[in-house]
Symmetry: C2
Subunit: 190 residues, 2 copies
């Protein structure tokens, strides 16, 4: 799951950061409910009891993961409005360009939305870090509606790609273009 677990010199800040990172990877892949504190601690090579200590609770850990995974959605969105669709579609589907960071909060959100404790955090997060800034970026009337529809598309793609084995139906590049066109049509008109 990680490097040969180098000998850790005692350093609270560093281990805290390592736990946060390991938790992010686990939560991204398996969702809130199916990640145990023991698994995260195992990845870091540390005792599970440290996690409630450092983050208050599992929920607190998830909240911090969510917060630190969240600064980027607008980095992908912001840019020339004419290429919005293709940019976002590529960030979502392109296996080469799909880095763990960008648009990752979408995966995080969809994978954990079923959990009652996590979904409250996820809802607040989507509202504040995606719907609101994206609505402002869009501007004009019906901007909120467009933002909501876009969120539906993004989460839907995230769910489908996580349910199915493959990322896109057959030809990834074609799927990117089609999804991009659809996203663009949402933003452009109605």
């Amino acid at each position: 799951m990680s490097q040969p677990l180098p000998i850790r010199t005692r350093n609270a800040a560093a281990t805290r950061a390592a736990i946060l990172e390991a938790a992010r990877n686990r939560f991204l892949r398996d969702g809130y409910d199916h990640v145990g504190l023991r698994a995260i601690a195992g990845d870091v090579g540390v005792d599970p009891a440290l996690i409630p200590r450092y983050f208050g609770s599992k929920e607190g850990l998830f909240a911090e993961v969510l917060a630190t995974t969240s600064k980027d959605p607008m980095e992908v969105i912001a840019g020339p409005r004419e290429t919005f669709g293709i940019r976002v579609a590529r960030a979502l589907l392109d296996p080469g360009r799909r880095s763990p960071e960008r648009m990752a909060f979408i995966q995080l959100a969809t994978r954990s939305s079923a959990s009652p404790t996590a979904s409250a955090l996820v809802r607040r997060h989507i509202e504040r870090r995606f719907l609101k800034p994206f609505t402002e970026w869009l501007g004009g009337r019906r901007a909120a509606e467009k933002a909501w529809l876009t969120a539906c598309l993004l989460t839907g793609v995230a769910v489908m790609t996580s349910i199915e084995r493959r990322a896109a139906p057959e030809d990834t590049e074609a799927a990117i273009r089609t999804l991009g066109a659809l996203l663009q049509s949402v933003v452009d008109d109605a």
Copy 2:
């Protein structure tokens, strides 16, 4: 959760059906992981041990729920192709018309997609009962791609409406029209 729990005369087929129905409601609302056999049994007024007996396991119960919730997606889809978008959008978002049965498998799928054991069943189900017949109904080339995009939209809407409190951003009727137009554009062209 149910009627005043009428005195049950011993009848294996009837209790089996009652368990299946109660399980469907629970799974729809809370997803696979967050439904306990004890809760389902409690709804029916029956001992939890009956469930592994009648359905083999919790997974077996979920599989049967999935199978018996699945006959209907094409009932909504099938119809004049020109009104496809608005029909499906209304089935998804209209609080009045949204009966528990139609399009319910989408809710079931999205709510349980995070669970490793459930997601395998969900994947098979979506493929066989939605993507395949819908692709055939669409016809023409790129039909599979259109079907996939439609599935993304539907699951996305399901996730967003389950994450957020309200069903649609503000004006439900307007959201139905917008979503309907978007769905229609997917089906019509590219």
